[in-house]
Amino acid sequence: MSAPRENDEALLARLGTVLDELDPMPAEVVTEGRALFGLRRLDEELAELVRDSAEDRSGLLAVRGEGDVRLISFETGPVTVELQVTERGMVRDLVAQVTGTALVGAEVETSAGRQDIPIEDSLFTVEDVPAGFLRLRLHTVAGRHLVTSWVRA
């Protein structure tokens, strides 16, 4: 004895029910997504992620470990930001070099908040940044505010 065959739409609908039941999306996924909007500021210019050494592995198994150094590049117009991230347990050490503009200030921003970074020429370092999402905010002598793309580090 077999039930009549369900059509594609019915089968997909049932699959939807099964997925909702077995793999429900936690409510905080939506809550967190909504809350991200607070991070947006209209006067900022995005320096886009253009290169990430964590992705230059051509599909080979990534080898990771303590002290790994990751190089990430961001660009907007003539401005380039080279960010070096060193992994140390649950914290990250950052070295950044900015070319193509002169800075008066810089901050590193994480989900925990912002931290001012002392600038020496176009190079700056910051230690003990908590692992997770981060980005740099750069303030130029010309009064522009640049932010890099968020990266998970």
Partner: protein, 190 residues
């Protein structure tokens, strides 16, 4: 569909101007899709959530640069897939990249507790679904949450536009065959 797309364009424009409600509407509408994409890479809940949030951050960064709102869904799926692969790569879990060509490979055991499923029939469906190849699982998950956005999604999944109908049929046929027990998937077993 056109209505949906013009609604999307309006939401994007309003969000770009700082309207939190418009942003919330976008997040509400598409989170389940992004969650599905992330989970189809077998990421755990924490990583899957990271993928969803990173995707939203990317959209936030590009709110005023989305040139074609009709392609938002495809853009979101593409971004989420890239972020998911990034997570896999960084955690060293990634296998060599053959991801785009594999339709038929069975995968690892499902990470959920199937005992939760009361309904015998649904459990059988879940088990059959879990044995599908990665691309079929992705395609069907997306077909469940966004049944209309065919062209965008085929593009995002790297499939030729117009091929998604036949591919979806093929995936459903495979799913049925697994359900009926008329095929033995190679490599299947405990």
């Amino acid at each position: 569909m056109t209505e949906t797309f013009s609604a999307t364009a309006t939401l994007l424009a309003r969000a770009a101007q700082g309207d939190q409600h418009a942003w919330n509407a976008l997040v509400d509408e598409h989170s389940r899709l992004l969650w599905s994409v992330a989970r189809s890479f077998r990421l755990d809940a924490a990583d899957a959530n990271d993928v969803v949030q990173t995707t939203w951050l990317r959209l936030l960064e590009h709110l005023d640069r989305i040139e074609d709102p009709t392609r938002l869904v495809g853009w979101l799926v593409t971004t989420a897939r890239r972020e998911a692969m990034r997570v896999l790569r960084r955690s060293g879990r990634e296998r060599p990249v053959v991801e785009d060509t594999v339709l038929d490979r069975p995968d690892d055991a499902p990470p959920v507790d199937t005992a939760l499923l009361q309904d015998e029939r649904n459990r059988a469906l879940w088990e059959a679904f879990s044995r599908l190849g990665e691309k079929c699982r992705q395609l069907l998950r997306v077909a469940v949450t966004h049944p209309q956005a065919y062209d965008e999604i085929s593009e995002a999944l790297g499939m030729p536009i117009g091929s998604i109908g036949p591919t979806r049929r093929r995936c459903l046929t495979q799913l049925r065959a697994l359900l009926d027990g008329t095929v033995v998937v190679e490599g299947d077993g405990p």
